[in-house]
Amino acid sequence: MRLTALAVAAAAIALGAHRVDAQPVDRWPGAAAAYVVEVDGAERWSHDASARLRPASLTKILTALVVMESAGDDELVAVSAHAAAAQGARIGLRRGMQVPVGDLMTAMLLRSANDACLALVSHVARTEKSFVAQMNARAAALGLVDSQFENACGFDGPRHRASARDLARLAHVAMAHPRFAAIVARERGQARARDGRVFKFDNTNALIGRVDGARGVKTGWTQAAGRCLVAFAERRGTAVMLVLLGAPDRWWDAVAMIETAFEEARASPAPQK
């Protein structure tokens, strides 16, 4: 109950903070199929920010939010056969293993592990379908008008869509959640099964530890979606949020966008409110 209240409060803060001060311009043509760069919650640059595109594993930001609002970090999750058989990125969970929610969250967010993702889904909801219903309800509550989800972990699907602007809004809400923010800021993580087995992995977000002030949040990739990224960085009180969908050279472009955003914010600081 308290978690739900916290999440609602965070969402309210994030939605309140989100604003478009002036018509954003496409400063980085060709960098991505769609992108948004926000400085202190205001859109600075964007391209096709409302286009409904494939979000790939950026989906897991919402998955994490729904899980955090339903389960505590120390709860043990029994890995189902369905989760253990997950395709794509995985850490190698086996059927019957018991792993704490917090560790699975770390694996899902840092390694983008689909086996951890599906294990969490089966812990929180009876079926993935009912979990996805919760995700869509949460998305609607957050005002994500250009997003719709049909699976929990980001696999491509005909109606599995999100816009760059919606993902920025979602990321603000998630980052306001201390459990989420603490996980996605790490360079590496581990998940420890109750049988003693330890799974170690690096964060797929290459900006962490490489870009000054980078504190999150998530990568995504599928053949159809291309390279995707939500990144958040903070320096000297200025916050930059970046969403790239379908970005062929996402790391170098992300670095250029983030560094430029900070540089320009430094040169023309926003007026004090």
């Binding site: 290459a206 490489r210 000054d212 790391w251 670095v255 250029a256 560094e259 540089e263 320009e264 430094r266």
Partner: protein, 343 residues
Amino acid sequence: MRALQNCLLAACAIAIASSTAVAQMMQQGPKTFIAGSGPDDLWEIATKTEMSGMSIPGQTSQVCIKKGRNVGEASVPKQDNCKVTEMKTTGNKTTFAMECQGQEPMSMRGETTATPTSFDTRMSMKGTKKGSDIDMTMTSIGRRLGACTDQSEQAIAGMKAQGQAELAKVCGEAADRFQYTMFAQGQACEGNRKTLCDKVTGLAPGMMKPAGFRAAVDKPGVDMVRGSFDACASSSPRPDFTTTAKTACGEAVGTRDWAFLGIGVCDAEVMQQAPSKCVGRDYYTVDKALVPMCNRYAMLSRGGTPAAASAQPVQTAQPAQAEAQKPDPIKQGVDAVRKLLPF
């Protein structure tokens, strides 16, 4: 002569009794006299005010009146719209009247009975204040207690010195944080600019090494330090941020301190060094020691604008010399690289 003296005392009493500022100083402020001896006169004054039938608690204070002070003129309440319309002295009794015009017109009438050692003043005031009618009666009874030494000038000088000491402290802290805008023309620390400039000129030699430069900009940030250098452009020796940074950048190239090149003051060096070390590599595979320089290069080569180009200089007392428009070597380099590389 005696009549004049009485009149002066009465006027003094009026002024003291009706001056809120003086009353507050007497109540709360530092003691500005030494009682018991000295050339001046120590008075005890009891005031009481009634307003529209409501009695306001009275107060008794001691005040030291400086000998020879022209209290007659100085003590009449000074308001541009007021003038004394009547003042008549008969024996030791003086009657007076005053009219004030303007947005809050007021008429005052009173009388005072004074001797060299006492006075008794009663005054009534009628008028309007903030749209409401005012009908106020004020009584002041004074008696001379003896001699005193007025120290108000010393007290004022002391307060001024204390204020200056506090300002110096604030400005010292501002200099430590390189808050150069506080030293700009018309700002609180304008007169203490030497504090900032001494700090800047003291730091400048050490900042010619990357380690000293890093240490100096670590907390305040490059922009604050750069602004402080600019604010002290008229100091001797003249601190020159560009030359200082250039020297540190050259040292960093010599020692292969690539991370230093990424801090934002070595863009010409970044454009020279980064292509061979950053271009064509997967971001994951770039050595961490190179990453700050490569990040900077990514920004410069993909359309970012160095903030330094648009930073606003601090306004100083001396007008800045206009600089001729020069081609920007960094921008030229960026444009040239953009044409050549897909990076």
